[in-house]
């Protein structure tokens, strides 16, 4: 285990050190201490390493992540894991707004709650939240899965495309063109896989699936009131 004191060496040196790790590095376990809510910690990683941040992080921690696993032993600021391509981010605390925005792949797990716009414009990422999510979650979500073990706030999945949403609790309201869907066996399978991968013990059959009604896919003036 390599330990980096972020307050001591600074953000640039911290990220530079992590970016220098290649695919075949034998230094695969890293720990960052004294993060003090800094922004852009461990963003742009592209190696099969595991980084554990001991404390809370600011904006864009693990942004655009590829391959790496980033654990946040604290709460995570806005835009954590934005545009994640692959790998895994595990947040032990709560996550602020825009979690996993535009993420293309990989997995984000939140042990606490996630704030508003969780999974906004998601493009393939899987997000599993053990608690609840705020309003406008998965706004314009294109693909991927958002799993919410608690409740969802207002306007879930507004203007979504092909992303899937699984919510165990209540949904305060659905956004434009988002509707409740049938939970077929293949969806139970997908959900089971996601919960297993996230290490969260929950019964897939207790969840409801939501997704696009596909009424707004091509502009129609008779739908103008929905825009």
């Amino acid at each position: 285990m390599q330990t980096i004191d972020l307050t001591e060496i600074g953000l640039r040196e911290t990220n530079k050190t992590l970016h220098a790790q290649s695919a075949d590095t034998n230094q695969t376990a890293w720990e960052i201490v004294n993060p003090r809510g800094s922004h852009a910690i461990a963003c742009g990683l592209d190696a099969p390493i595991e980084v554990t941040v001991k404390g809370s992080t600011g904006y864009y921690c693990a942004g655009m992540n590829q391959q790496a696993t980033v654990n946040i032993h604290g709460s995570a600021g806005p835009g954590t894991g934005e545009n994640i391509m692959s790998g895994k981010i595990v947040i032990e605390g709560d996550a602020s707004q825009y979690l996993g925005a535009t993420g293309h792949g990989g997995l984000i797990v939140v042990k606490g709650n996630a704030s508003s716009r969780c999974g906004i414009s998601m493009k393939g990422v899987n997000i599993v939240v053990q608690g609840s999510v705020g309003h406008m979650s998965a706004f314009m979500g294109q693909s991927g899965n958002l799993v919410v073990c608690g409740d969802a706030g207002d306007a879930l999945g507004d203007s979504c495309y092909e992303a899937r949403f699984f919510v165990r609790g209540t949904v305060k309201s659905l956004g434009a063109d988002c509707e409740k869907k049938e939970m077929r066996p293949e969806h139970i399978e997908i959900l089971k896989g996601l919960l297993d991968e996230a290490g969260i013990d929950a019964n897939p059959s207790e969840f409801t699936r939501y997704g696009s009604a596909r009424n707004l896919y091509n502009f129609d003036v008779d739908n103008a009131g929905a825009y």
Binding site: L11, R12, N15, K16, H19, H39, A40, C43, G44, D46, G58, Y59, Y60, G63, M64, Q66, P78, G79, E82, N83, M85, Y98, A101, T102, H104, R117, I120, S121, K123, G124, F139, M140, Q142, S143, S159, Y161, E162, Y217, N218, F219, V221, A224
Partner: protein, 448 residues
């Protein structure tokens, strides 16, 4: 025509309304028939005060000129030297503006790269990500970071020579985009992670930041991901140029790209294009003022776009304080867009060469703004690249001609004092005197 009625009373001359013109009436009839606003490409078509309303005074007894073809007039520009390890060095201060693969065909993007590279300048990706042909044919490629983040990935980000965070564009300040289903080919759909054939909306706001304080953090993240190597531009529409330029600089931008309302778009509502934003002429001086107030003029570069067409426009932009310009529509015309040789086909589409702006429909006879394989095949990217290079060279020679006549050995040495305005509006916007007077409209107690 009967000039009198049966009783011998004269008729009045039939009179068209200045308010309800034939154009306006056709808009009303179109709206009544369809129930939806008109969507089109391009920039503002209305007449606005422009660089055409400015003139250079040239040399005189008090200013001596430089010899054409003999004495050097430099045109190079460095963009992004403030924070980036590898600033962009351009031979000419005319860059190619962001236009998306999706809106344009792959070969058209390739031609932009070829032409720009041959002329020693940069080209820019667009809302749809970076294509290999574009990267391969562009020696200097600016990667646009847009609200939609279509095709956005860190590998491409790291391949870019600069990053341009797009906040707005002149054709539609505050507006997102729409790529209609008919242009969504398999390749476009795959790059944007969306099903084929559906309308693709591009968001108007970034999904993970709002406001200047967030922008500063976003710039920090992009710099960390790219190791502080490449410049980061911020592109804004000509909405509030003084404040937007100020905020972009304070957020840490290396360059500000400022786009006036004549700047084109692939597709948006006609009402948006014609009624939101400010003319390019009106936005330069406030932006330059912001740079000067912060002591950042010539340190943070200002790239001006929106209706730049000629070396005269380039020279005027430079004289007002811009470091470089960007062209979009003009580059497409150089490639062959709206060429009269396709007139019969434009007629079949209900339009005429020069007026064709339904780029979003994907039926471009010139094969440039389309994803239709047959139409695309009409366009030769090598020939297109050559034409663009020629055009860029001509613009540069024209700008140099004017600069030499003003006695300047670098385009950047052109200054507002070289200019006069033909109209009061242009004089007030450009903050130069009305021709033949010592009057700066809107500027109290000033004279030569």
């Amino acid at each position: 025509m009967n000039r009198h009625d049966a009783k011998g009373i004269p008729h009045t001359t039939p009179r068209q309304s200045a308010t309800f013109t034939q154009d306006i009436n056709s808009d009303i009839r179109r709206a009544a028939a369809t129930g939806i606003y008109d969507i089109r490409g391009g920039g503002a078509k209305r007449k606005v005060p422009s660089f055409d309303d400015l003139l250079f005074m040239g040399a005189s007894i008090s200013r001596y000129p430089l010899e054409g073809y003999r004495e050097k007039c430099e045109t190079s520009v460095t963009i992004g030297g403030l924070h980036a390890e590898n600033p962009i060095e351009l031979d000419i201060p005319i860059t190619i503006a962001g236009m998306s693969f999706g809106a344009l065909s792959g070969p058209a993007k390739e031609a932009l790269g070829r032409g720009a590279s041959a002329a020693g300048t940069s080209t820019t990706t667009g809302d749809g990500g970076m294509t290999p042909e574009e990267r391969g044919h562009s020696t200097k490629l600016v990667y646009q970071y847009l609200p939609s983040r279509y095709g956005m990935n860190p590998d491409d980000l790291r391949k870019a020579d600069a990053i341009e965070i797009v906040v707005g564009q002149g054709a539609k300040p505050g507006g997102g985009g729409m790529l209609l289903g008919q242009k969504i080919s398999d390749r476009v759909a795959e790059m944007r992670n969306l099903p084929k054939g559906i309308d693709q909306r591009s968001a108007c706001r970034h999904p993970d930041w709002t406001g200047p304080d967030d922008l500063e953090i976003k710039i920090l993240e992009l710099r960390e991901i790219t190791g502080w190597k490449v410049p980061i531009y911020v592109k804004v529409a000509g909405a509030r140029p003084y404040y937007d330029t100020t905020l972009a600089i304070k957020a840490g931008a290396d360059a500000v790209v400022l786009d006036g309302m004549q700047g084109g778009t692939a597709a948006t509502q006609d009402v948006f294009i014609e009624h939101v934003g400010q003319p390019t002429l009106a936005i330069v001086r406030p932006a330059v003022q912001a740079l000067q107030d912060l002591g950042m003029h010539r340190k943070v570069q200002l790239i001006l776009s929106g209706g730049i067409r000629s070396g005269a426009d380039v020279a005027k932009a430079m004289a007002l304080g811009a470091d470089a310009v960007a062209i979009g529509t003009a580059a497409l015309i150089a490639l062959g867009d709206n060429d009269p040789k396709w007139e019969s086909e434009y007629n079949a589409l209900g339009t005429t060469a020069g007026a064709y702006d339904d780029w979003h429909e994907g039926q471009d006879p010139a094969g440039i703004t389309t994803q239709d394989p047959e139409l695309m095949a009409r366009f030769d990217p090598i020939e297109g690249g050559r034409r663009l290079r020629n055009y860029l060279k001509v613009m540069t020679l024209e700008a140099q001609t004017i600069a030499r006549a003003c006695g300047k050995n670098h385009l950047h040495n052109l200054e507002p004092e070289d200019l006069v305005a033909l109209t009061m509006e242009a004089a007030a916007m450009a903050k130069v005197p009305l021709a033949g007077t010592d009057w700066y409209p809107g500027k109290p107690n000033t004279s030569y």
